[in-house]
Amino acid sequence: MLELRRLTKYFGGVRAVDGVDLTVAEGEILGLIGPNGSGKSTIINLICGLFPLTDGEVVFRGTDISTLPPHERVALGIARTFQNIRLFGQLTVWQNLWVAQKARGQGRGFLRGWLGGSRHDRVAIDKTLDFFDLGHKRDELAGNLAFGEQRRLEFARAFAAKPSLLLLDEPAAGMNAEEIDQLDARIRQLRREGVTIVLIEHHVELVMSVTDRIAVLNFGQKIAEGTPAEIQTNPLVREAYLGTQTAA
């Protein structure tokens, strides 16, 4: 579904992402892990088109989308969350989803989507809010929500765009055990509904439990790829996280 070919991004002299090849299959959950600064978030930003590539290609469903602006990529079905939450704090919870919702249809439906949305669209927003357990907060300003709720809302907002590929950038950061369990369940539920997911996460248990496959990055390069079990025993991965044992 998504194919990254020799994906490369330099920031000045820093090689943030350095020739990464990566394929995401339809319907899978791919974990993207690596130490801080290894280029995980940069890859997400490149897939979303937030800045131009230095080299390489982003191919989505067979077409090269490397030069498309971000909003057009969303229209194709790629949505994301941010590591540092970016909500529309002065809008209500409901409006946050309203803004992101993919309006149904073109022509007359298109205009209606802009003006207020059909009954169907409104019901869809309420349903999404309920799914993310935010129904009772629908009229609150997003900026006034508790941290865990803000994370959920951002997830809900990404889902409201009706994505086929969802990129989650550290959705569990700052959450407690119970919230992480709920997150785990939601990710599985979305997969059952046919959404492909790329998950960046430092929470090892969550990654090992929910993903089908894991790719490991270090210094902008992919150093390993495989099932969670394979990754756990991979010496290169241990080295990246724990350092080399040269002295011994």
Binding site: P69, H71, V74, A79, F82, R86, F88, L91, V99, L141
Partner: protein
Amino acid sequence: MDFYLGLVQIIGVHTLLGLSAYCVLLTGQVSLAQAGFFAVGAYVAGMLTVLGGWPLIPALAVASLAAGIVACAVGFPALRVKGLMLVVATTAFGEAVRLFFFNFTYQLERGELRIGPHGGEGFRQIRYFPENGWSTLDVMLFIWVVVIAVMAALWWMDRSRIGAVLRAVGEDELAAQSSGINVTAVKVSAMTIGGLIAGLGGGLFAHYTTHIEHVQFGVVLATFAVAYPILGGLSNVFGTLIAVIFIQGFLIEGLRFMGDWRNLLFGGLIVLAMIVRPRGLIDAGTLVALKRLLRRGERAGA
């Protein structure tokens, strides 16, 4: 009496000017080009009624459209820059418009009179209202019909998805892009809507003052235009209206006895407002408090 009617006219026209800046400000852009669009509207409407002999309403419509087109054309290059750079770019545009009209002469012979814009001397004899027998009261009412129509349209827009999208862009462009919003299109649209409203205001202004010249459309007017919505707050259109009444009615007319000192007070008050109410006089919190107060009042009454 005519003094007060005149004041109410000024407040109406300045409300339109403030609302034009309000639209742009919703998307997080501070534009000092609104006085330029206002000038375009004023000159176009004046020329159409005076030189073209048009009736007022189609002249206003065309003036509004002309200012909207200019705003759209300016929006594309200008909105590539943000923040302070946008302020500089739009100020430069506003000054360019002013200097254009400073040099613009297009006069026709009418009997012994020469009519039409005459460069630095301005555009005199925009006498549509007196020629057609409108009293000051008629003019005032007409202006306010337009103001109320614009306010109603914006009120409705604010509550539609468009309003939410404009505000989303104003809050966080990156998040808006990532939610599938074409940020450039939204900002240019807001600028265009602002241009349409400013053009309408300019057209009305030209006709009730009957004499316009370039100095009226300078940086001071542009500053007023953005000061209204900033002072009034962006939660709804009434903030702008209240700010206009406060500034034009109270600060400018009410404190006239203070002479030039009131300008100092004006600047001080804006700074004070920014410190005390950074989100404007009327923000989301005010509305909640107001609703609560009303509800309590109802309960006490019952």
